[in-house]
């Protein structure tokens, strides 16, 4: 989801920041990069190298994008979540002050 939100700017650092901002918690970089590798192995994301400036000492960055298979997996995950949430709204509703 973070990759989708970031569009063409989705590389390791921005994905980490996006997740930390949205989840409001620190993210282990080790967990982030190994998760991205797993998603790639499963064919859910892919990446391409982009040239960079001096702030990275010339080291490339991998810009990620979600594959069609990844999108299908997200849709399925969303549907499952919807089904699971269905009927529980009254229990999980924020209490009115």
């Amino acid at each position: 989801l973070a990759i989708l939100r970031l569009g063409s700017e989705a590389y390791g650092l921005t994905v980490a920041r996006e997740l930390e901002q949205q989840a409001d918690r620190r993210l282990s970089r080790g967990a982030l990069y190994t998760t991205l590798e797993r998603l790639e192995t499963k064919g859910l994301v892919r990446w391409k190298l982009e040239p960079v400036g001096t702030e990275r000492r010339g080291l490339p960055r991998r810009v990620y994008s979600v594959t069609a298979r990844g999108l299908a997996a997200l849709r399925m995950s969303q549907q499952v979540l919807h089904r699971m949430w269905h009927g529980l709204e009254h229990l999980l509703k924020e209490p009115s002050s």
Binding site: Y11, L13, S28, Y33, V52, R57, L59, R61
Partner: protein, 374 residues
């Protein structure tokens, strides 16, 4: 990375960079991760906090990538050194164990057969070895058991002793501290409930002294107990005393009636005492040795064996030579009864295990092979 050197002051930790290069995959994949960290540090203007975050991220990444890196190195090592023996480093062993665990989980049927075979092998080997250890390996529960020997006559094979020949062996031999005879016997006790038969042994008075056995209650036999016409006495085995007499400590002096005679209990043997099998009643042999019973005939061999304790320094061979000499002398002296009779002296331990040794050895070998197979 274009340069391993970091700018002084606000640059990344060299150690962290070195760690990342050692653990991340080479090429663009690894470089892009390091680039991300460098960019983050750069954007944070290289503050102290940012440098610590850099180190922290480097550690986190290294920890995550290290196992995968080790696996790859292991695989490369095997691929490039397939003829050589694989190194048994900690990483290699860990990888092998992980691979074995994964294989076992993946092939559950096969794993079950393997585990069952190993379990059967270990179980059988343990069971048989505990029997072998108890019978073949563990020393006899007697004092200085390596000096205990069995003496018997031979005549185209093993033969028991004739009573007069035993007396001659006892008086003429010098290899033994003491020599005692014994004969397996069964006793029918008519006193306790219905008549019951108990395994026992007729023994010479010094039998327990030869073995070095001390009773847990009462006394052993004396020479005064061991002749025809003496007051009949008995020693009891621990099992009989506990199971049939309720471990009564006042049992000494109590009479016990058998089908042949009434015996007075003079002692109780210690728990665990047995010669070749558990026995319950021991009676002096001399009570039964009477001329009218044929005991004095050298041609009668009534199942008598002798147990001797070799004198310190006397070898088994010396005892054997002496026994052969005595047997030859007896042949000359009593040609009618002793013609062709020799003598055999063998260690007590060997004689006790002799009937089961080959079976146990074969069983141990069989389960050993089963374990090897497992």
């Amino acid at each position: 990375v274009s340069s391993g050197r970091s700018p002084a002051g606000d640059g990344p930790s060299r150690l962290a960079l070195w760690m990342l290069r050692r653990t991340l995959p080479p090429g663009a994949e690894g470089d892009s991760v390091i680039g991300d960290l460098l960019q983050e540090l750069h954007e944070s203007r290289g503050t102290r906090a940012a440098r610590w975050r850099f180190r922290l991220h480097a550690c986190s990444i290294a920890l995550r990538y290290l196992p995968a890196r080790l696996v790859k190195r292991h695989a490369v090592h095997h691929a490039t050194h397939s003829i050589e023996r694989p190194k048994m480093g900690i990483d290699g062993v860990a990888q092998d164990l992980r691979f074995a665990a994964r294989t076992l989980v993946k092939h559950r049927g096969f794993s079950f057969i393997v585990v069952a075979t190993i379990a059967l092998g270990i179980g059988a080997a343990t069971a048989i070895f505990s029997v072998v250890e108890a019978i073949l390996i563990r020393p006899l529960p007697f004092a200085a058991p390596d000096r205990l020997v069995v003496v018997n006559e031979t005549n185209n094979g093993r033969m028991t002793l004739a009573w007069p020949n035993y007396l001659d062996f006892r008086t003429r031999s010098h290899s033994y501290e003491s020599l005692a005879c014994h004969q397996a016997n069964a006793f029918t006790v008519v006193e306790i409930g219905r008549p019951r038969r108990f395994d026992g042994r007729l023994v010479c008075w010094n039998f327990f002294d030869v073995l070095g056995v001390t009773p847990q209650l009462g006394r052993t036999f004396t020479a005064a107990d061991d002749h025809a016409g003496a007051s009949p006495v008995a020693m009891l085995g621990d099992r009989f005393w506990r199971q049939d007499l309720g471990a009564d400590p006042s049992v000494i002096g109590r009479p016990i009636r058998t089908s042949e005679r009434t015996l007075t209990i003079v002692g109780v043997l210690p728990a665990g005492f047995q010669l070749s099998r558990p026995e319950d009643i021991f009676v002096p042999l001399g009570l039964t040795v009477t001329p009218d019973a044929g005991w004095l005939d050298r041609g009668n061999h009534f199942g008598l064996f002798a147990i001797g304790r070799l004198k310190p320094g006397i070898t088994l061979q010396q005892a054997r030579d002496e026994a052969e000499r005595i047997a030859s002398d007896l042949q000359r002296e009593y040609p009618n009864s002793n013609s062709g009779n020799g003598a055999e002296v063998s260690p007590l331990g060997e004689r006790i295990v002799e009937p089961v040794e080959s079976t146990l050895t074969a069983l141990m070998g069989a389960v050993g092979f089963l374990l090897l197979l497992a």
